[in-house]
């Protein structure tokens, strides 16, 4: 947990506005903490290089 990204309440407000969410001021610290955990996970996933031929799409068969 010590390496989690820093997320401020202002960050939460800015991102929330982009998806049409209005977050109550009393919730902002907890949302920032939860978002830091998710962004830490996102960073761990994104930094892993994947070959171009790895596809998430399902396979269709007749």
């Amino acid at each position: 947990m010590s390496t989690l990204p820093r997320v401020t309440e202002a960050d939460v407000d800015r991102l929330a506005e982009q998806v049409g969410l209005r977050i109550d001021p009393t919730d902002r610290p907890d949302v920032a903490a939860a978002l830091a955990v998710l962004l830490g996970a996102a960073q761990l996933v994104m930094e892993f290089p994947l070959p171009e031929d790895v596809h998430p799409a399902p396979v269709f068969r007749p």
Binding site: M1, S2, V12, L15, A16, V19, G20, L21, R22, I23, D24, D27, D30, V31, A33, A34, L35, V37, L38, L39, G40, A41, A42, L44, V45, M46, F48, L50, P51, V54, H55, P56
Partner: protein
């Protein structure tokens, strides 16, 4: 088990109850009445149930008795009382999903496929159970309904999100129940409550009529206090279902018949690496004892399992956001304060992370398939520590590292459900200590190997789930 537990049938297995009811040694109505009495006596202290179907259960049991008297086959689970997480549709009951918002909805008009299957097999649904709101948690500390208490220590959580279903089985209120598992929501409460919990292969059991959390990972499965009951329940609910788009077309492969086969020829290994770090000594010791009982010395590593867990978190978050964004915009205050900040955060995750997580999933699935070329069953801890206290601080320290008390409960379950692997969590017997579980993990659609190993551990006394008859304080 205590004399009291024996006397009122609390300790009876589903298998024994069904044998009694089928042979008319005991009526299904008497069995249902006894279960309802246990619930009336003990559930005020445990808070497993959000709704008890007292009159309907008694009426349905009486009808079953009449069918048996008329010579009809009542099914393999004849007269067995069971409970379902309040995430499953039950005709005439509102699917609340632990949420105030859903409590406003109309009652379901038909049963979820898995509930209907158990009823066709003769089981009697006595009620629906408590859970984390929208199944997004590992603790069942639900603010709307109150926390479910662990029968082994009522000051502690039952685990989640299927906490009510697990605690009801552990306390002997019912011999079986249904739960769902997206990231560990069957396995975590099974381990913390000291019972068997089974998450079948993704697609093996229909999810039709089940409120979703994250479609990529949502699974349905049973809880029980014996391996035979777990297998009986699984056999009743597994198989294709055209009303569930992701249910596999693969035919059912019964597992009750596997229980006497033993483990000869089953290749077993301990999962190391990620699965041996950031856990209490007791959790790792439980794995060591299971490995010793099975004479297992081989260790294998699932590559990048820590990253698999992170990817599972991202995919779950984004798919949950897709489901709940509208309500989060319109009525955030109606969400449980235990889930609201985390659900609000799900809507703010960058889209590229989701796409990369899904691609990583394809890569990881291929790497784990390579491991299963040489191994049939893996052993791993279910949770990193026993049940924390209800209302515990949000962080705790494991091995000198600060972790989130509740979300870290899924550290060993998430990398497995991430790729749909079948897993049984077996309760490892430790006298005078809080329960812990060990995961038995197989390749997709290889559930039979899991049941063979679980049956061996139960027969040898390494895994057991005695009824907790202690009344809550």
């Amino acid at each position: 088990m205590s004399d009291a537990a024996m006397a009122d049938g609390a300790a009876m297995t589903a298998e024994a109850i069904a044998a009694d009811v089928r042979s008319r040694r005991r009526s299904a109505r008497d069995v249902a009445a006894a279960a309802l009495e246990r619930i009336a006596q003990r559930d005020r202290g445990l808070n497993c149930f959000t709704l008890v179907r007292r009159d309907d259960a008694l009426s349905e049991a009486a009808k079953l008795d009449a069918r048996i008297a008329a010579g009809a086959d009542p099914g393999p689970l004849a007269g067995v009382p069971f409970a379902a997480k309040n995430l499953f549709d039950v005709a005439g009951v509102t699917t609340v999903a632990g949420a105030k918002i859903e409590a406003e909805g109309a009652p379901a008009t038909r049963d979820a496929t898995a509930v209907a299957a158990l009823r066709r097999a003769g089981a009697i649904l006595v009620g629906v159970t408590n859970m984390d709101e929208y199944a997004y948690g590992f603790s069942t500390e639900n603010t709307h309904h109150g926390p479910t208490r662990n029968p082994h220590d009522p000051t502690r959580i039952a685990g989640g999100s299927s906490g009510g279903s697990a605690a009801a089985v552990a306390a002997g209120l019912v011999p079986l129940s249904l739960g769902t598992d997206t990231n560990g929501s069957i396995r975590v409460p099974a381990a913390l409550c000291g019972i068997f919990g089974f998450k079948p292969t993704f697609g093996r059991v229909s999810r039709a009529g089940v409120f979703p959390l994250a479609s990529s990972f949502d699974h349905v499965g049973p809880f029980a206090r014996s391996v035979a009951d777990l297998a009986l329940t699984f056999d009743a609910i597994q198989g294709p279902d055209p009303t569930d788009q992701v249910c596999a077309e693969r035919q059912a492969e019964p597992c009750v018949v596997e229980l006497q086969r033993g483990v000869a020829g089953v290749r077993i290994a301990v999962a190391g690496g990620h699965f041996s770090a950031l856990a209490s000594a007791e959790s790792l010791d439980a794995v060591a004892r299971v490995a010793a009982a099975l004479d297992v010395t081989t260790r294998v590593t699932l590559p990048e399992a820590h990253r698999a867990r992170a990817a599972a978190m991202i995919i779950t978050a984004v798919e949950a956001a897709d489901l709940h964004l509208s309500d989060l915009r319109m009525r955030a205050k109606d969400f449980d304060p235990m889930t609201r900040p985390r659900l609000l955060a799900t809507a703010l995750v960058p889209a590229a992370a989701y796409a990369h997580a899904q691609r990583f999933r394809a890569w990881y699935r291929a790497r784990v398939a390579e491991v299963f070329r040489d191994v049939d069953v893996l052993l791993a801890p279910t949770t990193p520590y026993p049940a924390p206290p209800i209302g515990a601080p949000s962080t705790t320290t494991v091995d000198g590292v600060l972790v989130s008390t509740r979300s870290h409960l899924g550290v060993f379950t998430q990398p497995l459900s991430f790729i749909g692997l079948p897993v049984i969590s077996v309760p490892v017997v430790t006298p005078c200590a809080l329960p812990l579980g060990v995961q038995l993990v197989a390749a997709p659609f290889r559930e039979s190997a899991l049941f063979r190993v679980a049956a061996k551990l139960e027969a040898d006394g390494v895994a057991a789930a005695p009824v907790v008859s202690r009344p809550p304080d």
